[in-house]
């Protein structure tokens, strides 16, 4: 480590005393905001998981009273503890919404992006610290709105996280709360995206050229562009659907609807498919918003723990940018069976096959990076390695869904649910856990416990597969998604309905497997093994800052002189050469 140099004058400005509120609640420090985002994200991931565990009761034991909590749910949700289908639909819609928009995105982008990216860039903070604060509080408002909607007289929205019109237009008022919540969440992401992009362009430390950026930063930049360009159409669509609901407009309502025997009192003339186009124009890039930061984390952890440079860094970066671009022109593969002609379906299935190639390149590069390494099996590495085959299954099962003819029997079945859960649950979530274990020392100054970490990883790996793999089998048998009774109303689903019990038990065991993580997380804040600046002997710039990093981040000027992953450089006495250490020549 180079001799610490005196703090720069710019740094001194940060040293006035701040009140508790300014320092921890309405903070403008990217690290505090990053932690706020992460804690919020983790809390909502837990909440979304609880919703799913309740749903899984009804899938495994349809029509039987829910044990323990059944009597607490109230007669409008579960009379006598038996779940009503309306409540099931609420849980389903809110599980999806919360996991995507309030769980993974806040943790992966708001949390890791905010905390880690400025540090990796060698920046003192984000470019717009106040916008950063506002962005978090918009998210918070969105979260409160979504959470509070469960307590509306008719409950929360229950029209799927996709909220297709006209069902969502004519639904009860939980949907209005959903739309208002979404508008907060979208605003939050837009503000964040502008901030991320500006920070990456303007605040890189001297010498941090584009091809010296850690892959994680590249992933965050591409993600920010996706959010910035894809979310506005959904924000507009959300406002239009809100108008349909509260001002009796007909943006998504066609003429001549008859609901429950009554002609709907609307002028009509709108298009239900317009909503789907606007929704999926966001929601497909959104899939990459969920996965790219995860790939970024995995790349950092794998390079560090295989003690060698990432293999094919440049082609990974180019693939990432290409992936980001392509993600804007594949959205209608979610809509093959809405009545699509052959020209449109040819276009969208071809772009879908094309987008698989850069994903294959990135995944292959991560696998190949391991070759010749000296692999350390610590907890972050186990989660990062677990990500690879799990994301592999998620990606591969996307192939039959992306080909329109093969999609006919598989569309809207559990095969789809299995596919995207492999991408985001044992995929993205494992990567996020890897990130939590990896950067925890930078946040707190202490490492998390390795034994509890392994006790968290192995059962999670087993039970994740126990939940999601049978979904593929159910899907191939034709079982539709979003069935409140798990499919037992249908003969063709009957043979595989029995798998629901095994999946539900796996889900509940998966919850038990998170207990070591929760204990580890809180215990390590105070009692973890003390970590210095660079506990993992890492090369990237964030590890030059003190742990925990002070306001303003660095106590020495940062000048970047080499690429991000100079591990095991021939002729060097250490097996890592930090990015910002003066060259030894």
């Amino acid at each position: 480590m180079a001799e610490p140099v005196h703090a720069s004058p710019a740094h001194d400005e940060h040293h006035h005393e701040q009140s508790f509120w300014r320092k921890y609640i309405f903070s403008t420090d990217h690290k505090v905001i990053g932690v706020q985002y992460s804690v919020t994200g983790l809390a909502f991931l837990f909440f979304g998981f609880v919703l799913m565990m309740v749903m899984r009761w009804n899938l495994a034991y349809p029509g039987e009273p829910i044990p323990f909590i059944g009597s607490l749910l109230g007669d409008n949700r579960a009379p006598g503890g038996i779940m009503l289908p309306d409540f099931y639909n609420e849980l389903g819609a809110m599980h999806g919404t919360i996991m995507v928009f309030l769980g993974v995105v806040p943790l992966a982008v708001g949390g890791f992006g905010n905390f880690v990216m400025p540090l990796q860039l060698g920046a003192p903070d984000m470019a717009f610290p106040r916008i950063n604060m506002i962005s978090y509080w918009c998210l918070f408002m969105g979260g409160v709105t979504m959470f509070a909607s469960f307590f509306l007289p008719n409950g929360a929205a229950g029209n799927g996280w996709t909220s297709y019109s006209p069902l969502a237009d004519i639904a009860l008022n939980g949907q209005t709360a959903w739309l208002i919540g979404m508008i907060f969440l979208i605003t939050s992401s837009l503000l964040g995206a502008i901030n991320f992009i500006t920070t990456a362009i303007q605040l890189r430390a001297p010498g941090m050229t584009w091809m010296r950026l850690p892959f994680f930063c590249w992933a965050q930049i591409v993600t920010a562009f996706l959010l910035l360009l894809a979310f506005p159409p959904l924000e507009a669509a959300g406002v239009l659907q809100l108008m349909d609901r509260v001002a009796n407009t007909s943006f998504f309502i066609p003429e001549g609807l008859v609901v429950g025997g009554e002609v709907l009192d609307r002028s009509g003339g709108g298009s239900p498919l317009l909503w789907q186009h606007l929704f999926w124009f966001l929601a497909h890039p959104e899939v990459y918003v969920l996965i790219l930061p995860a790939m970024g984390i995995v790349a950092e952890v794998i390079a560090n723990n295989s003690r060698k440079p990432l293999w094919g860094y440049r082609s990974m970066v180019y693939s990432l940018i290409f992936l980001g671009f392509m993600s804007f022109i594949v959205w209608a593969h979610h809509m093959f069976i809405t009545g699509m002609g052959s020209v449109m379906s040819t276009f969208f299935q071809t772009t879908t096959m094309i987008i698989s190639i850069p994903s294959v390149i990135i995944l292959s590069a991560l696998f190949i990076s391991l070759w010749g390494g000296s692999i350390r099996y610590n907890t972050p590495m186990l989660f990062a390695l677990g990500f690879l085959p799990m994301f592999g299954i998620g990606g591969l099962t996307g192939l039959p869904l992306g080909l329109s003819a093969a999609d006919i029997p598989l569309h809207d079945t559990y095969y789809v649910i299995g596919h995207f859960h492999y991408v985001v649950a044992p995929g993205t979530l494992f990567a996020l856990f890897a990130g939590v274990y990896y950067w925890f020392p930078k946040v707190t100054g202490r490492k998390m416990n390795e034994f509890l970490g392994k006790l968290h990883f192995w059962p999670s790996l087993v039970f994740m597969n126990g939940v999601f793999f049978p979904m593929m089998i159910q899907g191939l048998n034709g079982v539709s998604r979003r069935l409140a009774d798990g499919g037992i109303s249908y003969d063709f689903a009957g043979e595989v309905a029995g798998l629901n019990r095994m999946m539900s038990v796996s889900a509940w065991c998966l919850a038990l497997a998170q207990i070591p993580f929760i204990i580890n997380f809180f215990m390590s804040i105070r009692n973890g093994e003390k970590a210095g600046r660079n506990p993992w002997n890492s090369t990237t710039v964030e590890w030059l800052a003190p742990s925990p990093a002070p306001h303003g981040n660095f106590d020495q000027p940062i000048e970047v002189v080499r690429g991000p992953y100079e591990y095991s450089v021939p002729g060097s006495d250490k097996d890592y050469v930090p990015q910002a250490e003066p060259a030894s020549t």
Partner: protein, 267 residues
């Protein structure tokens, strides 16, 4: 490979779709095994205790590039050889209505209204103001030119075997999805739009019962798109007859039209 899991196939194009899903899964399996074997080998061979010093350069060969090109070619074959032509057959090559059984299905929360044109082969007019959920859920105008002999049922679709069926799908309220798992047919019903699907059933209900050894086997119609609280039970039935049986069924349904209105509930 996967056939064992699919619902029993009973339409002309089902076999080709199944073969394609099989082919894709073989490709997926091959990729997974290649990656998996490499992965497991690397994890053991290059663990820190066995390989204390990492190699700065790592892999030099171009194997991965060849692999990626091979994946791209395989995907190209799946697209051009299978998926695109099969999709075109589904949506562009609809047989002429004169050679087909033509039916309308009007979806609603939470039932499938099946509408036959009757003996004249022409559908009557539809008038929303006539809709009555108990006696006339499709709003059929019996006084319109072709409306007198039209037949409708709820949740009961009947078709003759080995003859193309063209089904015009629409919805009264929200989006549903008309799913015939055995026929490998799935099509959203979108309110405000009429969308045709077509297929040729190749096995009668009697034949499939014999084949599966299950005397109670029924072809089911399932809703595949969330449509409200009873989405899970929006179940209909398809009965595939021989041509003669189908005609007999139509005649029987038509005979109720001359009787009292109560006979509507006899299905």
């Amino acid at each position: 490979m996967m056939d064992a899991m699919f619902p029993a196939a009973a339409s002309e194009h089902a076999g080709r779709i199944d073969n394609m899903i099989d082919a894709v899964h073989y490709l997926m399996l091959a990729l997974f095994i290649v990656w998996g074997v490499f992965f497991v080998y690397v994890l053991m061979r290059f663990r820190a205790s066995r390989n204390p010093k990492a190699d700065y350069v790592g892999v030099k060969s171009k194997m991965s590039t060849y692999g990626e090109v091979a994946v791209a070619i395989a995907e190209g074959i799946l697209l051009l050889g299978f998926s695109i032509p099969m999709w075109a057959e589904r949506v562009d090559e609809v047989p002429p209505e004169s050679d087909a059984t033509v039916v309308r299905v009007v979806a609603q929360q939470f039932a499938w209204n099946v509408w036959y044109p009757g003996a004249d082969g022409e559908f009557g007019a539809q008038d929303l103001s006539l809709i009555d959920e108990a006696t006339n859920p499709i709003g059929l105008d019996r006084d319109s030119e072709a409306g007198a002999d039209d037949i409708w049922t709820v949740n009961q679709l009947h078709l003759p075997v080995d003859k193309a069926a063209i089904i015009h799908l629409s919805s009264k309220d929200v989006i549903h999805s008309f799913n015939l798992p055995n026929m490998r047919i799935k099509q959203d019903t979108i309110p405000g739009i009429s969308i045709p699907v077509w297929f040729v059933p190749t096995k009668t209900t009697a034949q499939i019962r014999e084949e599966t050894g299950n005397p109670d086997y029924v072809y089911e119609i399932a809703c595949a798109q969330l449509c409200g609280n009873s989405h899970y039970s929006m179940r209909g039935f398809l009965t595939v007859h021989t041509e003669e049986e189908f005609q007999a069924w139509l005649d029987e349904e038509a005979s109720y039209l001359t009787g009292s209105d109560d006979d509507f509930f006899d299905f």
